[in-house]
Amino acid sequence: MQGSGSVGLVTPQTAVFDTPIALSSGVVLPHYQLVYETYGTLNAEKSNAILICHALSGHHHVAGRYKETDKAAGWWDNMVGPGKPIDTNRFFVIGLNNLGGCHGSTGPSSIDPATGKPYGSSFPLVLVRDWVETQARLADQLGIYRFAAIIGGSLGGMQALRWTISYPERVRHALVIASAPKLTAQNIAFNDVARQAILTDPDFHGGDYYAHNTVPRRGLRLARMLGHITYLSDDGMGEKFGRLLRSGEYLYGYDVEFEIESYLRYQGDKFSDYFDANTYLLMTKALDYFDPARHYDGDLTEALRQAVAKFLVVSFTSDWRFSPARSREIVKALLDARKEVSYAEIESRHGHDAFLMEDAPYINIMRAYLNRVAAEINA
């Protein structure tokens, strides 16, 4: 891998929308804002834009740093930058925080102008198709009609897929990574356990914990710990932690003993420090509800028939949360609908998290595909 430069220092921007949006739930949100970042330069034809859709706990800070001293770069910095597969020398890349998020876009923790208090429990549920609608409005504001590509992993892949159905003409290429056409019962079950952890936390206060100056930290922490287990593979976890003990011997108690416990608790603590519990609930429901075939008698092929985009579908062998079999369902529906699709099943031990990792075959295929996209638009 060569030329892996950074986009450098970046600044988030805010787009304000005063046209009401009617959400799938029936609720109308009169106004809202979306926070986003861009990298690279939009060309004169406005044909080189790429939209990055984030997953469950993601946000708009995809690449680069806010200041030189930031410890961590954006969440997909290994994929986005000059000379990287999503090459900011060629593409104009947009990352946003979805509606309902907790990183600056309007969400449950934002102040409701009507009451002067955080929305809390009054914030409506948002579906993937609602996100696509708001993303399209952001694109309108930025003067972008047709995206060169829309790319997402996991829940982000669902948004990319939904785009090709909601706005077929506005997507040249959809890259759907480690995703699924809908969740299985097992997947919904995991989400519900996570939600129950939050909902039953005494500090949850029916979702209006902001007024009580507290957060359901324990619930959110448990939800994140559970999530993390499902994002890793058994092999990967075994390789990294095995049965390693922190002190080298059994302590006969319930404190942290095994390294895996330490890791999960650390991840849970870190997450509960910055993520909003209501947003977590909302995002998991968006996952559960996602089923673009629902309005086509459950026939995904029929749903995708109107798509114009070309597709790259990628899965990872050790991903059991969104297994390769689920990606193959998407591929089969696309083939049956006579769409153009390529499919790669990447050998990886990183489980679901592999879509964020730097496995060489994964990086190579993304680079190869995006080279084609760039060539198509002369970028």
Binding site: L312, V331, L335, Y343, N364, N371, R372
Partner: protein, 207 residues
């Protein structure tokens, strides 16, 4: 075939492997083609560039898949041994399996699958009946030749056959050959092909 201009390095007929050149000659313009074990997608790329052929490749190796993507060839990463379940009945005009069948486990299944998803099948394989192979066997050794370049202990080939054998299997499966080309070192062999040819191409359909 008339020369067609193209800027791509991959589109020269002469750059195609010898068996693929003949396969390409069998496929008319504007066909739908499925290429099983398509490697870097050279055949499909050539067909797309020169004959407006639309198609898909199937390849198990990720480097091959990446090369296909690089060439703009649609490719599905999959193991042929698990069948062609991803593809609907009758989705293709031609289904190609080149120099792969000899390394596969379930030959009958793949041939049936080929004619389930496509109208015409094309298989290319090393001809075990080639005289050099027969001669080496006569001398008491397992054959190693241009089209079967492995020693017995490291060969991936588990189902070698002769031109004659392949025809018999087609009959058994209710299929028949609609075309046959036998070659040796890029030249077509017309006389005693099962003895003098090292590489066979068979085109076949259901009875």
């Amino acid at each position: 075939m008339s020369a067609v201009h193209s800027h791509s390095s991959h589109s020269q007929h002469k750059d195609l492997r010898a068996d693929l050149r003949n396969v390409a000659d069998w496929i008319p313009a504007d066909s739908n083609v499925l290429d099983l074990g398509c490697a870097d997608g050279a055949l499909l790329h050539w067909l797309a560039t020169n004959k407006r052929v639309r198609g898909y490749g199937v390849e198990i190796d990720v480097d091959g898949v990446t090369a296909c993507v690089q060439h703009g060839v649609n490719v599905i990463q999959s193991d042929l041994e698990s069948g062609l379940g991803t593809f609907e009945d009758g989705s293709f005009d031609f289904v190609v399996l080149s120099l792969t069948i000899q390394a596969m486990h379930n030959i009958e299944n793949i041939l049936n699958e080929m004619l389930r998803v496509g109208r015409t099948g094309i298989v290319t394989f090393p001809n075990f009946g080639f005289w050099e192979n027969r001669w080496q066997l006569a001398l008491g050794r397992m054959p190693v030749s241009e089209t079967i370049p492995y020693e017995w202990y490291n060969t991936p080939n588990i189902h070698l056959c002769t031109v004659y054998d392949f025809g018999r299997l087609l009959n058994k499966l209710g299929m028949h050959a609609t075309g046959q080309v036998v070659m040796h070192q890029n030249a077509r062999i017309h006389v005693l092909p099962n003895l003098r040819g090292s590489l066979a191409l068979m085109r076949f359909e259901k009875n």
